[in-house]
Structure formats: structure tokens, C-alpha cells
């Protein structure tokens, strides 16, 4: 199942703030299951790419220390009508992509 991403973006004076809310547990692999005494297996987003009209703008690497259901905001140089996409991959290989047109 692909990872769900909700996005919003608005351009003002050639710079757009792009916000993304991702539905993901962000399990670091260090949290213990008290019943079994074993850690919950790691499952966190490690790669994030933000692209404007298909050109990569921001490339991020995350660890399990980013909060669950991550919120991310970045600023890119783009105008209204440009397409901005956020693509993510987690450490288990699950992927998610979302694209919006800037307002």
C-alpha cells in the first residue's frame, strides 16, 4: 500500500511554501514492546524528494527521530500553476507520491 501524503502549496512572489502531511508510524526501531521485551521493528521514512515540474528541488534524508505522521514544510522557487510533487520511500521500501498544482 502506498503511503498517503496530503499536500498544500501556495506561491507568493515566485517563492512557494509547500506543506506535506504524511501518514506514517515512523518507528525508529528503538521502542520496546513491553509485553514481548523485543523492540518494534524499524519502519521510518528515510528518503524524501520535493520536485518542481519534475526537477528535484529538495532532497531530504530522515532518521527515525522525525515524529510519527510527519509534517514537513519547505520553500521552493515556483509560481502559481507549477506542479510540485513530494516522493517518499521508507526503510522497508514502501513508497508514496503526491503531486499538486500550486495556487
Amino acid at each position: 500500500m502506498s503511503i498517503k501524503i496530503r499536500m498544500r502549496g501556495k506561491s507568493k512572489g515566485g517563492v512557494a511554501e509547500v506543506k506535506a502531511l504524511i501518514k506514517h508510524p515512523m518507528e525508529s526501531g528503538a521502542r520496546m514492546n513491553k509485553k514481548t521485551g523485543k523492540p518494534y521493528p524499524a519502519k521510518y521514512i528515510d528518503m524524501v524528494t520535493v520536485a518542481v515540474n519534475g526537477t528535484p528541488a529538495v532532497d531530504a534524508q530522515w532518521s527515525g527521530a522525525v515524529s510519527a505522521n510527519p509534517y514537513m514544510a519547505v520553500k521552493v522557487k515556483a509560481n502559481a500553476g507549477d506542479e510540485v510533487s513530494v516522493s517518499i520511500t521508507d526503510n522497508t521500501g514502501a513508497k508514496g507520491t503526491s503531486t499538486i498544482k500550486l495556487k
Binding site: 528503538a30 528541488a57 520553500k75
Partner: protein, 155 residues
């Protein structure tokens, strides 16, 4: 940037797995995509060396680091790093000084992006949030202490 997108492309088509099997790429080359050395580092200095190849930073007032003075829930600490006042920002790394693995995230910016990041991070206890910005070959740093009343790790 090019090498990373190349690796991504090959991973997407599954060709990387074939390449590994054929011995064309050693597994370490593929894993180099995610900066494991920096993320697994136990100290902020080691993490910095892993990301930037150097741990010598200079304090800068041009980085606007926004974090709460007191975080009621360390599992969701909002952090904003605004380095848009600096020209040529290449990378922003966010670290939590006393986390078991301090490096939380690193962002690399192309020319069509602005040096600005807002996110939410987990913090186990009261500690400093450190933002390190690489711009024009220099490493600039800003930090702020965040008091955590409920830890974000260990549950």
C-alpha cells in the same frame, strides 16, 4: 544530486537488485544512498563529520531557528529552520544533541529551492536542538535549548 537520482531510478526499476547480484555494485555502494554513517553516529560531532566531512562550525545569527522553549510532548517538537537570509544554502541538518543518534534529518537544496525547513522531531529529554547550515562552503550553526516534560522515546 545526479548520482542519487540515478540510484533512485535504478532502484525504482528493480535493476539495482540485479546489479548487486551480478556484482556490479557492492551493497555498500547502494546503501550509500542513505547516509547510514551520519545517522548512526552517537555524537553530534560524528554526525556532522558524516554529513559534511567536518565538525567545525561557526555560530551564525542569520539562521532563524524556531523551537519551543518548553515542549510538553517531546515526541512532536516543532522545529523550523529559516536560512533564507543566507545565499547559496546547500544543506540543512537538524540534530537533537542528546538523542541516542543525534542526527534527525538532513535536507539538500537545489538552486530552485530556498533554505527553509519546518518539521516535527522526537526528543527524549531536555536538550539542545542544533541546526547546521552549509552555505558557500561554510558550516554555520544555531542552537536552542528545549525543555522536554514528557519524553518522546521509549514510550
Amino acid at each position: 544530486m545526479k548520482r542519487r537520482s540515478f540510484l533512485k531510478g535504478t532502484l525504482a526499476t528493480g535493476a539495482a537488485a540485479v546489479a548487486v547480484n551480478a556484482g556490479l555494485l557492492t551493497p555498500s555502494t547502494v546503501l550509500a544512498d542513505w547516509n547510514a554513517k551520519a545517522f548512526n553516529a552517537k555524537t553530534t560531532d560524528d554526525a556532522l563529520s558524516g554529513v559534511f566531512g567536518s565538525a567545525s562550525t561557526a555560530d551564525s545569527g542569520d539562521i532563524k531557528l524556531k523551537a519551543p522553549a518548553i515542549a510538553e510532548n517531546g515526541a512532536v517538537t516543532p522545529v523550523t529552520v529559516d536560512a533564507s537570509g543566507i545565499d547559496g544554502v546547500e544543506t540543512i541538518a537538524i540534530m537533537a544533541s542528546k538523542n541516542p543518534m543525534p542526527l534527525v534529518c538532513e535536507y539538500t537544496f537545489a538552486s530552485n529551492a530556498v533554505g527553509y525547513v519546518s518539521t516535527r522531531i522526537k526528543m527524549g529529554q531536555t536538550m539542545n536542538v542544533i541546526a547546521v547550515v552549509k552555505a558557500g562552503g561554510k558550516l554555520l550553526k544555531a542552537q536552542q535549548e528545549v525543555k522536554v516534560t514528557i519524553g518522546g522515546c521509549g514510550g
